[in-house]
Each structure stands twice: as C-alpha cells, then as structure tokens.
Symmetry: C3
Subunit: 667 residues, 3 copies
C-alpha cells in the first residue's frame, strides 16, 4: 500500500434522493480517497431469487472511479433477504432462545447449506459483474462474522462429528470432561446430548471452540470464492470486532482472531470508543495492537470507526483529528468512518455519520477536511509504520471462555477481559508498547517481557513452553488462576498453579474471596492496596514475596511474588489489585526487564507511540489526551514536527493543544 | 345527564354469601346512586357454550331498581371463559412471547373470528334479556380494551392487507421505510415478514398504528351491536385507561383515544393514583383533562377510581372527599369506585374496595357517606361543568410510539410521557387549565397557546398547519425532537427542526447527551438549570436566545429560544430542563400569551379549577393538596361557598383544612 | 445408633486416577467413619439400557469395609442418564418455561411412568447387588427431592383427578376459589385449564400443595422399594434441604417436610451457611431444629455440609470445629461433608471438598482430623442427645405458599421465611431452644409457648385449636396476616384477624404500608422502633396495647397487643418490627411464660445448647461465635468440660477461644 487511506462507508441505496455527485464532491473536499460499499444489501442486489440489480454498485463504482476514489466491495452476506427466509426458514439460526426471527442482521446459521448455497451464488454474481472495475482495491468478506450461537439439530450433527474426529472415543470424552458427574456420561454417539442444557464447563468450552471454528471455516470459504476473482493487486479483508460493552472493549470471545485472520490478506477491524470527556485513546490503542498482531506486525485497516457516532459521542473540537492520528500511530494504514451520512430510518438512525441527516457540512465534517488534507500531505511519512515491541500480552480464547464460565463464582460479573484490560491499560498509561500473542503464536519467544492474564485453561505443552521461556531469560507476569486447568477445563490434580509452579516458585491449595483484605510489604506501602474479587493463599518455595495479605487470618500467605528461574524472572499476582497498584507492579517489572526508556518519561494523558516509516526513519507520535494544553519535554531524538513542519531538538519544550497531536520524524 | 352520579362496581356473583339486600341498604346510606355490573363475568353468564344464566344480572337489576339506583351494564368480553378456549384455542392471542395461556383477562386476540362470533352472541343474549329493564342508564362496551400486542399469523394477514391498502406498492414501502438497510427490502407481498423481529422503527411504528386501529375498529363493532338494543336515553361508554406506572401516568400508548372514543356517547376512564403523603391531584387532573378532551369538552364518567385501593393507598381522612370533588372540578359527571367490596380470592385480593373483606363500615366508607350526601345536595350546581381553556397540549400517538422506539439512545429509560407530564405538571402547579388535542383535532386553532412535547413523527401538513397557527397569532412551545421525522418515522433530510424551523427561527445539525451541562443567560440565572438526557446544538437565525448552554465546548449553542413569526410567538426548548425551570419557561410563555390571570395567584399545593355550571354561573373549586390547614386570599368574584353554604367576597380570606375543599359559585 | 458418625460424600467414579487406597488412608487419619456413595451416578451404574456396571460401588464397599468405614448407599435417581432421555424424552419435566433440557440434575418429571419404571429397575438392580454387604448401614433415597415445578399435560391429568377426589364437584371449586372473577369459572371437567397461566392464588396454592404431595408420594414409593431389600439394622433416610438463598435459609417451600419424612427411618438434611466473618451458627441451629422436629425429637443426620465450600466459605481456623459441634448440639448424630475431594470438572468445580483439587492435606483437612479424634473419644457422651423445649414455632407450608403469592403487594420481595427467620433468629440470639410444629402436628399442646409467624392460610379447625390452646393456658405470639384467609386462600368475610380475634382481643378492617411510621408506648420507648413493610390498623377490644403507631394519622391504632384469654396469653404483632424490637417483644413473652432460665444469662455471640445424653446426664454446649476470645460465667450445674477434660463449677469463669467450643457434662 502506497497511500494512506481515508474513507467512509457509503450506501447509495439508502439515499432518500439522488445525491451521488454532490456526495462525491463533498468527499473530495474532505480528502476521502476510499469508500466501502455493498455489504449487507443482499436484498437490494438480489431482490428476488436469481433476479439481480447491480445498478447501485455500478453507479458508485463509476462515480468514484471518475473522482479517483478507491472502492472496497463488501460481500453482502451478513444480512439475509426476505425471500430467502421464506423459501428456506432453516437459514435462520436456532439458538438456545429458539429460532431467530427475520429482521435483524446476523440472524442466520453460517453453517446452513441453503444459506451457503445462496450466499455463494450472490457473491459470485457480484464478483463476476464487478471484478474488472478499476476503482476496486479490495474486498471485505462478510462483516463482524460470528457463529451467533447457532445450536440447532444440524449444528449438533456437525458438533458430534467434530467430537468424533477430535476425541475418537466416548470414553476419552467421558474421562476428559468428567461426565460421571451428575449422570452425564455419554455411552453411545446416538445419545450425544445438545450442549444447550449442559452444566459442564468442559463441554460448553469445547462447543464454544467448535463455534469459533465455524467462523474460521466460513471466512476461509468466502475468501476462497473471492480469490477466484480478485486481481493480484487487490486485497481481501474482514471487519473483525471486539468484545462489545457499548464500545470496543476487549478480546472478541466468539472469534479466534489470529486463526480467522489467516483467510485474509490484510487485517481489518472496527473500533468504537467513548469520546468527549471520556476519550482516553485506550480502545484505539488496544484494538489497533490486536489488529496489528493478527498478521504479526503487518499494517491493518480501520474499516469502521465513529464520526459523530452515538449522540453522546459527538467529538469535541480536535478529537476527530486526535483519533485519526492515533489510529496511524498504532499501525493503521486506513481510517474509515462508519459512515458517510446519517441514516434516515431503522435501528441505527442515531448512530450518526460524518454528515448529519441534513447532508450539510457540520463541525465534525469540517474537522475531517483538515485530517484528509494532512493524511494526503504526510502520506509518505506516515504510511506503513513498522513497530518493534519487546512486550507482549499472551491472550487465549480458550482461557477466556473457560474462566468466564466460572468467573469468581456464581453471581460474579467480572470476566477475563476486565483483567486483561486492567493490565493493558496500565501499560498504555506508561507508554509501554505491546503486541499480542496467542497460544499458537510462533513468535512468543521473541519478546523480552510477557504479560499473561488468567491463563485458566491451557495444555501442558504451553505451560512447559512458558517455563522454558523464563528459563531462557524471559520475564513473565502471570495473574491469578493461570495454569489452573488443562485444555479440557479439567482442573489440574497437583498443587496449584501446577506446571508453572516451577517457574514461579510458589504453591497454593486454597483460595477465597477477599473481604476487607489489603496488602502489606515495604514494596507496596504507598499504593492503593485493597484486594478485590479473588485471592490465592500462596506459600512461596523459592519465590521472593513482594506483598503479603493484610488480614488477621490470611496474613501469613503471599499475594504477589517474583522468582528467578534460570536466566529469567517470573512474577505472579495472586489477587485482583487496584489499577494504581497494577501499574506499580508492571512498572517494576518493566524496569527489571531493562525496558524502561525515553517513552516512559511521558505518562497518560500524554501518550506517545513510535515506529519506523517507509523511509527508515523513526516517527514519534505525541498525543495530549486532555482538554488542557500542556508543555512537555520532548524525550526523543532531534527531528522535524511534521504537522507544524518545524525542527525540534531532543529535550526541548513541546507545546500540545488540548486534544492535540504532534508527530516527529527523527533526522 | 341531570344528576351527579356516585357509584361503585358491584359483583354479586363474587359474593361469598347472599348479601344483596344488605349491600343495597349500605349503598343507599352512602348516597351511591349507580352501579356498574356484569363486565368480565362471561363464564358466569354463559357457563357452557350456549347455556345462559342471567340470574345474577336479574337479581341486581331488580334490587337496584327497587332502591332507585341506576345500573350500567358492562359487556363481559374482556375475559374469556374456559370452554371457549378449549373449543377454539386460537382465541388466545399469539404475541412475541408465544401464545397466551388461559388465566388472565385480556389474553385474547380481539380480531379473532371465533372470539368475535362468541363475543357477539353473548352480548346479544345479554342485551336481549336486559334491554328494557328500567334500571339501566347505559352500557360499557368491553373494558380497558387494547390489542394486547397480538401478532400471530392471522393478524399478520390483516396487517399485510392494511399495508396494501395504505401503500399500494412495495416500492413505496421500501422507500418510505428505508428497507434497503440491512437487507430488509420486501420484494414480494408473499415475503412480507412478521414485524415481531423487526429492527426498523418505521415498520414497528406502522404495526403499532395498525394495532391501535384494531382497537378502534373493535370498539366500533361492539358499539354497533349495542346500538341495536339500547334506548335513546341510554348511553354507551368505554372505560379507557392510561399509561400505567403502578398508577395512571400518561397518554395510553396502545389506543388512539380520540379516534376510539368516536364509538361511544360519553367518554369514560379509570383513574388510579398514589394517596397518603403522595397525593397531589395531578393524575386526577391530567386524566380528567384527557377524558374531557376525548369528546371536545363534553363531560365524562370516572368509571373506576380507587376507594381503599392498594394497601399503600388507604386514604388519609379527608382525601377521599378531596379526590371526589377534584374529579368533578375537571368535568366528571360520575365518580365510581372500583369497587364496592374487597374480593376474597384471586389477583386483586389486595386491591380493596369501599368495604373491606368484612363488609363492615370503615373510615373510608364513612367518608364516602359525606360525599354521597354533598353530591346529592349540590348536584344541580356541580353537574355538567363546562370549561373554557385557552391552553392546549398537542399530543400524538404517532410521535409517542416513534420517540419511544429510540428514546435518548440505547439504554435510555425516559419516554414520551415523561416529557409530556413534565410540561403538564408545571401547568398544573400554576393552575393553568388545559385541554388536549391530537393531530386530527379540528379545534387546534381555537387555542391561544399550544404546548407541543416531542412531536417526533409528524407529516408535513401538520407542521405547516402549526406554522400557520403561529403566523396567525398563536403562541406555541415545542420541545426537543419535534419535527425531526415524518409520519413514516423517516428523519427529515433538511436542517432540523425541519419545517418548523421557519416559525422557530433556528436550526441545528448536531445534538448530544449532556454531561455536566447547565444553562446561562440572564433570564434563567436563578433557576435550577442543569440539563438532562438530551441537548440540541442550536444556532438561531431569527430567534431570540433565552438560554445558552453553560459548558466549555457547547457554550456557543443556544438551548432555549423564542421567535416572533407573523403575529405569533414560537418558543423552542432544545433540551430536557429541570421541573422548576420548565415551570419558569412556561410561566413566561403564559404571561406573553396574555393568559396570566386570577387563578395564577394560587399555586400548588393550592389547586383551583373553574367552569360554568348548568345555571350559567362560574364555579371555582379550591383544593388544599397538603396536610396542613392554610388560609388563602380568595382571588375570584364574589360568590357563595357551597359546602359551607356561606357568602365569600373577592380578596377575602378563605380557610382550607388539610386536604380540604372549597367550592364557590359566583353570584 | 451407638457411634457418632463423621463422614464425607465420596465419588470414586469422578477420580482422575485410582486413589482409593490413598483416600481410605487419609480418611482413617481424619477419623472419617462413614461415606455416602452412588447417588446421582445412574449413567455410571447403568451406562446403557439394562447394561450394569457396579465396579465403582463394589470397589468402594470392599475398601471401606476393610477399613472399618461405614457406607450409606444413595439411590441414583436424581439425575437421569443420556440414553433414557433419548428413548423417552417425556421423562424431562415440562415446566412453565417449556420442556427441560438434558444436562442438569433434577430435570425430570418424578411422576412420569417411564422415569418411574427405569428408576425402579436401577434401584432394584443396585440393591440386589449390594444388599448383603456388611459395610452398608443405610440407604439414602434420591436427593433433595422436589417436584421441580412439573406442569405438563400428564401432570395436569393427575391434578384434575386430585381435584375431583378432593372437591368432588366443580361448583365447590368455583365457590371455594372464587372463580367467577375474571371469567375463570370451570363448568366442565374437560375445560379444566392448566394452572400455569392462573392468576388465582387459590388455584396456584392448591397446585403447589398437589406438587408437594407428588414429592411425598414419590419418596414413599422409593422407600417401599428399598424396604424390600434393607436389613432391619439398616436405615432409610433422605437428604432434605431448605429454602436456598445462596445458603440454607428457611422452610423448604416445595416439600412438606413433616409429611415426606414419614417415608424415612431417620431424618437427614443438608445444611450450608456463610462462614468467615459471617459465621453465626444460625443456619446450623435452624436447620437442625427443623430436622430434629421432622421425627418429633429423634436425632438426625447431617448428610451434607460444607468443608471448604464456595471460595468465600473457606473456614477460618477453628470454624470447622465450631460448626461440627454445633451440629451435635442441635441433635445431629452424623456430620458429613460434601464432599471428600474437590471436583475437577463441571458445575461444582468451585464447591470445594475437604481436600482441594490437589488431594493434599490442607488446613481445613488438618482441622477435620482434630474433630474426628474428638468425635471418636467423646462419642458415648455426645451421641443421641435428647432435647426438651417448651417453645415451638408453628410453620405452615400452606401459609407460606399463600402469603408468598401476595407478599406485601406487587413488587414486594419480602417472603414468609423472612418473618419466620426474624422470629427464630431473635430466639436463637437469646439462647431459647425451639422445636418446630406444623398444622398436622399432634404435639402442639405440649409446648408452653407457641410462636406463629404469618399463619396466612389456615382452616377454621386449626385456628379454633389455637384458641383452645391459649384458653387452656398456652402462650402464643401471632404476627400480622395470621388468620386472614382459610385453607383455600379465601379471605375470611369477618373482621380480621377472624377466628383468632377471640383469643387476641382485637380487630382490624384496614391495613397499609408504613411510610415513616414508628411505634410509641412506654414499653418500647428505648428500642429501635421503625415499622417496615406492613401495618394493620388494630383496635383492641379486650387486649392490652403494647405499642401504638407513631404517625400523625395512624397514631390512634394499636400495633402490638397482648390479651389474657382463659388461662393463657395471646400476643399479636400487627406490623413488621426491627430485629432488636422483635427480640425485645419475645424476651418479654418468654419471661411471661415463665421460661426465662440460666441459658438466657448468655447471649449471642455466646450460644448455648443443652440436652440429655445416653447416660441420662445433662450436656451443655457453649459456643463463641466471634473471633475474639471471651471469658463467661458458666451458668449451669457443676460438671466436667469434656474437650479439656476438666471439672467446672457453676458460676465459675470459663474461657472460650475465638470461634471456640466448650462442652460440659453435668455431674
């Protein structure tokens, strides 16, 4: 890719009147150089079974091409047309709540043969029609794909087959999953029950894994179709999204991102986040780091992010700029708004685009014009930013699913991503750049420091690999519950934390829920040290105790430990700590790993991100995530501030506006 | 009607032993002169298919007639008998939760042919049997009728037919409702999906309108049947109710009251409200104003209101009297308690009547005796009170449904009636009498001041009519979101507030959710001025700004404006204000409209209501809605206080007991 | 029984590897002398239809026998195997939520003929196989049995038959249940509707009674089968449980404990309760008192109680001992932990046993070793403790069900057990020993003081019996709502509290929900006297008023009264009082009943329990339910403290550790 992309999702078919030429002109004015079109409009493209109407696609392709705006074509498969549902009601997924009803998107069973047949046909028809159009730079296959908890009888058959393939015999399942409990043994494949009613976490976790596999397989299937048509210089991407808590929050529980991303050429994501006083940049950074890690450091596309967004997200002056450059600073090569114009009907009427419903210029659009201009001007300096991080977070969908099935006990609302984000956010505030790895990553050993939240379910091989990693000189930070159960969510039958006890130099046999429990120990005397949700009653063997519990009964047990093991150091956090203490622990670890550098002289709300550009030069982004202007001491090498086009020397003063941005390219 | 009616709902068939004569005597002692009977007792009247038993009806009719007590006969159709459900299970409505189960009332599909057939038969049988009985003064058709969210396949067929009639072509629906979004296009009538799964507010709002039409049609159908039997001096009424929030709160979302009331001769309503320390009279006034407006100012019947009610509603001494006269003050000609005796079994055991389960006199009954005496004594002074109001609230079921589908965004709990009631309540506290009008009202132009809460969905014609109203000298107050979408809940494609921008002299393109936002501007400096839930970022064109937002970023935008337009004045409130500020704004508007009068010298908890009686004299009710006695200055013309039968001069002192009542008939 | 039993539930079939010999050795080390096995493992015992595998049972029986450890065999019927569900899907109960799904235990219809057939077969097969094994001391039939709200068509047929048998004619049902209301009359047996949709509390309460009868019948049916095999020196028991609020809270709503216990030889229960700082001993005492009362004072078995339990229940040092002796002090002859080892898979992974998942000794296990030793050493002193109490609480499943259908009105969350526990807990804190009786108990008249919470539904005969009880010299305490309705949940048609008005010397006709209401009257001036949830507006006839309401309007009504009636005294509490005031009222009543004794010189957190042992000597347990050590004055006769084996004289000092125990056998 040789040009920063600045784009919008565009829906000509939603327009209340013909605006195409006017829209194209307004896009040009704003520096928009790419649009994504056509996803989720199956009923427009194929209004009746085998009746096709490509007029909206053609109109837009031609207009964009004429204007020099690139187009990404989305396959339309994530919302099914009425006629398909009437002909084949079985395309609607059966979930634990019954069969889905027509209306919403993402209501289909992605493994259903009728759905697959008609989806393939419409994809091929579109691609045959558009494939040679010069405006097209790539394809997005489906959108925010998941298995949508499909669990009906047909899916059950696929699952039983999956189980046969994986476990071969029922005895091995009964043993691995502990099915003697509550008379759950399965003694004949014919008796294999639906997992919908299961109370066995091993079964449920396996079924979730199977559902994630359906997503991986489905995306590969679509990619294979598109690959038959696409030109070598075009790409395939998917719009991956994150755990949704009203905004992009954490690791997506329903998709194995790294596995699924193998189907695409470039990773794509959507990133939505709070703004106004609540804008911190954390979600932009987090989601970007995950996206960049999907293809081991390759630059990614932000296929959707908010312009005005929800009513409560209308950006303050400066914020849209700050956000746009923050995406680039994490390695994005494209920033695309969802969407161009606000929609006049239906569910997302109040999820506003760059334009309001009146299509008039507005302050948000006006600010976009400055971004488009700067993207264009600085494209060669900012595109294809390469980042080198020494710190990685090891996440695991298996651990996430398994932990979330138990959490901290019945009634607990805290889940895996809460802890993962607590760790991530502490590093973000300290300007420690991180990558993400998962248990299948080949590059784990490349990192100097590995952060491992709640590795609740893991095979022996992974834990042994992590022991070796430390032994060979790696630094690692585990949190509570890591190592607790194996890959089948069977709790280990040895003293906890099982295999990693060796590297951590500790053991525990009991744990409880803290009530009025603090921490004690010189190291932590100053920080806010109350303990939440969980505490393991740890006894060190070879470990050094960083903190004991402060409690009349539990005071003899260790809470946080570190242990030299071989050439490395393993830190174990046996309880859920406050945000400020989490940051203190990690700062200590970063220091010990020899990774405390210039970037750490800045601290949130000043955020800095660095990388090497196509010219081989270091680029430093410096963001002020606060409303007040601020003067900082610029900590990196001499260079040129690109936005203001002004030289800047190391250790000189640098002024940042409220919600301001500076970008320095070193000499 | 020539006699104030004081009544109870009476259920001889529920009696644990024969008490008819005793009950009649106790009613006579309390001045009860009317009873409503027979509604919801189909299984008693027709215990088996085509087996009838009118004995309870006959017993009561004869006993009441002998005692000179009138009877209103309710048709029994709002609860179906067991045998009908067994024979035709399809009479039970299918709703989005599945098919209803037998047990509760109001579980049927009012459009079901089997239900209609048997309902008509039992109505005719009863009417044939009773029609010439001299005790009967009128009929109540059904009770609190709604469509009960019936959505099954038969209803779907009716809906599709309704859509064909209304929109003629699918293309016009697809365009009007924006169905290209999420592949929702309907390209064949056969494919028309159920609205149960819809995510399109235009579809859902249209289906709600269709459901309200079912109610209107059903009541007309029952009225037509009853009209074949009723004598000219008898009336038909319905018991309309209100949005229920544990009491009668707001406009009924499921019925077009004004349309449905065309079927009846006299409007009837039930009104339930908190009492004890929480008694304010607001619901009595609000519900009465709506009821009176149903037939353009005609007097109405309170067919149900509480005696003891819920356990928490047992009235303090004086409150039952205060309530009864408050109903008359709003224009009621009847006050009827639900119900005579507390029920010994089933769901409403703790919804107590005038008598407790012991049938003994009690303090509430004893107080009713004084009311009955005064109603009888003062009947000719108080009956048929005619009210003339210069202020009206324009409500709209279309706007209500449409706004409530979005509210202030996902997760918002604030709905249309919250804002309507905030405006109504402010006027109530200031003793500004109001009528209600809806978009089909012919008399809108008769008012000097029109209050228009959240007119979210409205056709061009209505908005143009309102512009003309202002131009011709009317005063209008709009709140936020008015004019935003058309009658199909399609957001207007011009700068907001669209058509009414002309009268209001403002525009806006963006809006957000206030966080720590206040108001500034000399006018409002003193009042509690924090802004809640919603704020539009308004720019005035010709308007005068009454308040700007007080916020570092949004401070340049207007929050509240007024604009001279032609001979009139249009006030626009672009945010949700505090109750005290709402009152301040409306007080200002009332002054400017030249409507600030004598009644406004009193303020809640002193409430005053006026009207002209059958003798052509002004009658002023003055209520003390507080526990403490109070002395006020009587602000109206010289007259006679009717309860104490004492002359009173203008500007003289008047003493009101705690929860006390005064009624002055001017000379 | 001639030996205190100290046991664990043991699941050899759940073991991840063969540990039997190791486990037996560790059990011996801890003094475990009984294990319960085999319940809920039907799919292990009968892996396929009529294929049996008793190997786990045989292994354990032989190993235990060799080690001198007794075995209780549980029938495996409370969890059904996969093959049975596949063959006969109708074994899964249909509830108001639809048909149950496979997975959880207790999902079957216990009245289903297929379930009964296969359950009987597997029970007989097991019993035939094991019946002569010398290790077996008894059988547990099923586990925590309930009807699980089974409501399908087959159950409906049984219910209609039950109704025919009980009421003979529909007219008597219609009359008794008030079915004219809302057209609910049933005029043909064929029309009898399912109770699932019922809104009639009389119907719902009767159906609940029928469901409880299903439990009683089912347990008798299982007992009859087992009785064909068991030896005369073996017992049958059931594991009854309590209303569950995250722990054992109150009377079990779904089982008539006293009726159901007729099927068994020895009552058995499970008792779970909070620990750590929240350990009070109340649930151990409460559940034990109910269990002991099931068979009129006979000693009972604690078949399950927590060892480590939930993560938040890991016991502090000393608590496991305190709990164990507390069970004995209430009359238990066995304390058995659920369970030996923590489970490595499925729903109860975090409900930990005596051993953690690592099977290693841990502090909880180590403390159990001291208990086992003391149980063994003191067995002859502590076994078969007989208790004589002069105070009983009269509970009623009919009253519980009926009250809970109404509570204090729609939206109320307070239920029958809240009030029952408030009264029980006050007595517990005062060390007043209580038994439980229910309306069918023959021994009610044996007690000097009867506490009667919310006897909401009761036949005339019971209320007349209670009047006679007082007249003959008994002391009684009624709370609000007692006597209100008859056995069919029909409210009485006389002044309340109806029949018991005679003994109580009061009446009321109105009641309300207190808002800012206190109590006044010399007697109660000092105590915390705010009134919650409910207040009856009482007028005394012959009663003495203990407290009036403190409120501007309700101040003239009595809140708490006492009345001499014949030779006895009836106290009536017409409102829900604070815990401290409840205790004050009951203290006064205990004094007046002449029951204030030595035990009352101690008060929670010092708890004392007494009884007569097999040697005919008085035994006094003294518990310190607090973390701080304490010195008390020993109030009972001279004796020997058994744990320390030291003489102790009356009125001498006695030191108790934090969470400490003393046991004195009088000389």
């Amino acid at each position: 890719m040789n040009r920063l992309l600045y784009g919008v999702a565009y829906y000509d078919e939603y327009m209340p009147y013909d605006r195409l030429d006017k829209d194209v002109q307004m896009m040009k004015d704003a520096g928009i150089n790419v649009v994504r079109i056509a996803e989720s409009t199956w009923s427009t493209v194929e209004p009746q079974d085998s009746v096709y109407d490509f007029s909206h696609i053609d109109r837009v392709l031609n207009a964009m091409n004429k204007a020099g705006i690139h187009v990404i074509i989305g396959t339309p498969t994530y919302a099914v047309p009425t006629w398909l549902v009437r002909k084949y009601p079985d395309v609607l997924a059966i979930t634990p709540s019954g069969q889905n009803q027509y209306g919403a998107r993402q209501n289909m069973d992605i493994s259903n043969p009728h759905f697959r047949y008609y989806a393939e046909r419409v994809i091929r028809k579109i691609l045959e029609h558009v494939k040679d159009h010069p405006a097209i730079i790539g394809y997005q296959i489906d959108n925010e794909t998941k298995a949508y908890n499909t669990t009906g009888p047909d899916v059950q058959k696929l699952f039983v087959q999956y189980m046969k393939n994986k476990f071969v015999t029922l005895d091995s399942i009964n043993r691995a999953f502990g099915l003697d409990y509550w008379s759950n043994r399965i003694n004949s494949w014919e008796d294999f029950p639906s997992m919908v009613g299961s109370i066995n976490a091993s079964e449920i976790a396996e079924f979730s894994k199977f559902q994630r596999q359906l997503v991986t397989d489905y995306l590969q299937w679509q990619a294979n179709i598109v690959n038959e048509y696409k030109h070598p210089d075009q790409f395939i991407t998917q719009n991956f999204d994150f755990e949704w808590r009203g905004f992009s929050y954490g690791i997506q529980p329903d998709v194995d991102h790294f596995a699924a991303a193998k189907a695409v050429d470039i990773a794509g994501v959507d990133i939505y986040h709070p703004t106004q006083d609540a804008l911190t940049g954390t979600e932009i950074s987090f989601s970007g780091d995950v996206a960049r890690s999907m293809k081991e450091g390759k630059n990614y596309l932000v296929l959707e992010t908010e312009a005005q967004g929800f009513p409560q997200w209308v950006p303050y002056p400066g914020q849209l700029r700050l956000q746009a450059f923050s995406h680039l600073a994490s390695g994005a090569n494209m920033v695309e708004y969802w969407h161009w114009h606000s929609i006049h009907n239906s569910a997302e009427t109040y999820w506003k685009g760059l334009l309001s419903h009146d299509f008039e210029p507005n302050p948000t659009y006006d600010e976009a014009k400055t971004i488009g201009k700067d993207f264009d001007r600085l494209s060669t300096h900012l595109i294809n930013l390469k980042k080198h991080n020494d710190v990685a977070i090891l996440f695991s969908n298996e651990a996430l699913t398994a932990f979330n099935l138990f959490k901290f006990g019945w009634g607990s609302n805290t889940s895996y991503n809460d802890e993962l984000r607590a760790l991530y956010d502490a590093l973000y505030r300290m300007n420690v750049g991180v990558d993400f790895v998962d248990p299948n990553s080949k590059n784990i050993e490349n990192y100097k420091l590995l952060i491992v939240p709640i590795l609740y379910a893991a095979p022996d091989s992974l834990l042994q690999r992590l022991n070796r990693y430390v032994h060979n000189g790696g630094h690692i930070v585990y949190t509570f519950k890591s190592g607790f159960s194996n890959q089948n969510v069977k709790v280990r039958t040895v003293r906890q934390p099982g295999i990693i006890s060796e590297a951590c130099g500790i053991y525990y046999s009991q744990f409880t829920i803290p009530q009025n429990v603090g921490l004690k120990g010189g190291f932590f005397s100053a920080a806010s040290n109350s303990v939440r949700n969980w505490m393991e009653l740890i006894t060190p063997t070879t470990a050094n105790v960083l903190a004991y519990y402060d409690h009349p009964v539990w005071g003899k047990y260790a809470a946080i430990t570190e242990n030299k093991y071989g050439k490395g150091l393993a830190t174990y956090i046996g309880c859920m700590t406050t945000d400020s203490l989490t940051e203190k622990i990690l700062a200590d670890v970063v220091h010990k790993a020899g990774l405390w550098g210039a970037a750490q002289s800045l601290h949130y709300p000043i955020i800095t991100k660095s990388g090497v550009n196509d010219k081989g030069k270091m680029v430093h982004y410096i963001f002020n995530y606060a409303a007040q202007p601020v003067t900082i001491t610029y900590p990196f090498g001499n260079g040129r501030e690109l936005l203001g086009d002004k030289a800047i020397a190391q250790h000189s003063s640098m002024v940042l506006d409220g919600w301001g941005v500076g970008i320095v390219e070193e000499e």
